[in-house]
């Protein structure tokens, strides 16, 4: 058995008195697609943000391909990881945000090329070349020189995926990538994600798109009140599990989406 892409063990996190993560265990294998679902406030986004240590966790382990992120465990106990080492780990982890977070003062092409130049150290010609290839891949090559303010939500999110992907990350994190989109724009983003999954990208996805989760995920983890209370293949989580909180969550989701 190879080392998993992500391995979380007993991860806890509190904002002041509010315990957001209360002992999370989750493993994502290489080339596996795992969807995190759960009610709002359950801690799923926080958990995702802990994986690349944009959010720090208080205790427990999060290992990326076997390497603990954010801390060093030594004989004297645990100490924070240095900034440089953290950067080196982060650039191998792509992240896509709910609100795209494209840099508005840079064209789509510059958004993708900028990290390649600053972080990967590519020349501007090489960076532009790879950025164009990435934009082409997400179907945005004709929008390369357009600023984010003039792209639709779906186009922005595809550009943001291209930006993350251009770094050639070992795994990708998606934080509700379609939640800020108009319903008719969701499909184009999910399509890009589906093709990524088909190519064997390791993906951890926080989502409310149950249909997408059911079709694309290898495994679904249901998180509630800071704990993973159920996980398994989509069929098990959506149809077989008797976990009461999961059933209630799915019922609420179902009620809201039926008309």
């Amino acid at each position: 058995m190879s080392v998993p892409a992500i391995e979380m063990r007993d991860v806890t996190k509190a904002f002041g008195a509010l315990a957001v993560l209360r002992g999370v265990d989750l493993v994502v294998d290489r080339s596996e697609v795992v969807c995190l679902i759960g009610p709002s406030g359950s801690g799923k986004s926080t958990l995702l943000r802990c994986v690349n240590f944009i959010e720090s966790y208080d205790a427990g382990d999060i290992r990326i391909e076997g390497k603990l992120i954010g801390y060093h465990d030594g004989s004297g106990g645990r100490r924070p990881m240095g900034a440089r080492e953290l950067r080196e780990m982060r650039r191998e982890i792509g992240m896509v945000f709910q609100h795209f977070n494209l840099w508005p003062h840079m064209s789509a092409l510059r958004n993708v090329a900028e990290p390649l130049r600053r972080v990967r150290g590519l020349s501007s010609t090489e960076a532009d070349e790879r950025a164009r290839a990435m934009l082409a891949r997400v179907g945005l090559i004709d929008k390369a020189d357009v600023y984010p303010g003039y792209l639709s939500g779906g186009q922005m999110q595809r550009a943001a995926i291209a930006r993350a992907l251009a770094m050639q990350p070992r795994l990708m994190l998606f934080d509700e990538p379609t939640s800020a989109l108009d319903p008719e724009l969701v499909g184009e983003v999910l399509e890009v994600m589906r093709s990524l999954a088909a190519e064997g990208m390791t993906m951890l996805i926080v989502t409310h798109e149950m249909g997408f989760a059911a079709h694309v995920a290898d495994r679904i983890a249901f998180i509630d009140a800071g704990r993973i209370v159920e996980q398994g293949p989509p069929r098990h989580v959506f149809h077989e599990s008797a976990e009461p909180r999961l059933r209630q969550f799915l019922q609420t989701y179902h009620d809201r989406n039926s008309f």
Binding site: F97, H99, V146
Partner: protein, 223 residues
């Protein structure tokens, strides 16, 4: 209204105008650099430094420019700081405006959406690159109207330098008025000169504003 007197004094008035523009531009440049530095240092999570800087900002903003200038020019020699009137004027303008510019830049940095910084962190960008490539351009967009506004205010604050005998426009005007008893003419001429300066500053300001916000304009659609 005596154009003859104005004409006769024009060389000294133009010279004074030149000194005004020089003091203003050097003082503003110093203020912008210092203000930016203060705003940056304030971002470091080092509380004592932050308190110290904030105290300086509060003191400068809480006291009249005239008093600060006197303190610098007349009080400076007591601590071994001997500045010429013009140098004291430039340094004074710089220190005075730095407090305001620091607050303007602070506001600008605060206006940068945290998600845009997180995106830069998530790809592993270095703090310096995040600052210069992501935060600074966007902070500038938020801050530029206030910066231009402060530059205009500062251009008129230069009149205070006349009190420590900097030979700027106000000083030359007062000399002319005293020598020729033409109070109204000098005030009228002064209004014209300062209006020209302010107009020029605000035009340059508008041009700058358009430049840094180019990505939000219609042309950016196709770029």
């Amino acid at each position: 209204m005596s154009f003859e007197v104005l004409w006769r004094y024009m060389p000294s008035l133009l010279g004074g105008f030149g000194v005004t523009v020089l003091c203003w531009s050097l003082g503003a440049a110093l203020g912008l650099v210092l203000g930016f530095a203060i705003a940056l240092l304030n971002r470091l999570r080092f509380a004592p430094l932050r308190w110290l800087l904030q105290a300086c900002v509060e003191i400068i903003r809480g006291t009249p420019f005239l008093m600060q200038l006197f303190l610098l020019y007349a009080g400076g020699p007591f601590i071994g700081l001997r500045l010429s009137a013009t140098t004291a004027g430039v340094v004074g303008l710089g220190l005075y405006s730095s407090a305001y510019f620091a607050e303007i830049f602070r506001g600008g940095f605060n206006a940068v959406p945290v998600g845009l910084v997180e995106a830069a962190i998530s790809v592993g960008m270095k703090p310096f690159d995040i600052l210069w490539r992501v935060m600074f351009p966007l902070a500038l967009v938020a801050a530029i109207p206030a910066i231009v506004n402060m530059l205009i205010v500062l251009s008129k604050e230069t009149v205070v330098l006349s009190i420590i005998t900097v030979p700027e426009l106000m000083y030359q005007m007062q000399t002319m008025a005293a020598e020729t008893f033409t109070a109204f003419d000098s005030i009228f001429a002064m209004a014209i000169f300062y209006w020209l300066l302010v107009e020029a500053v605000s035009r340059v300001g508008r041009w700058l504003e358009l430049r840094v916000t180019a990505f939000m304009t219609e042309k950016a659609r196709t770029a």
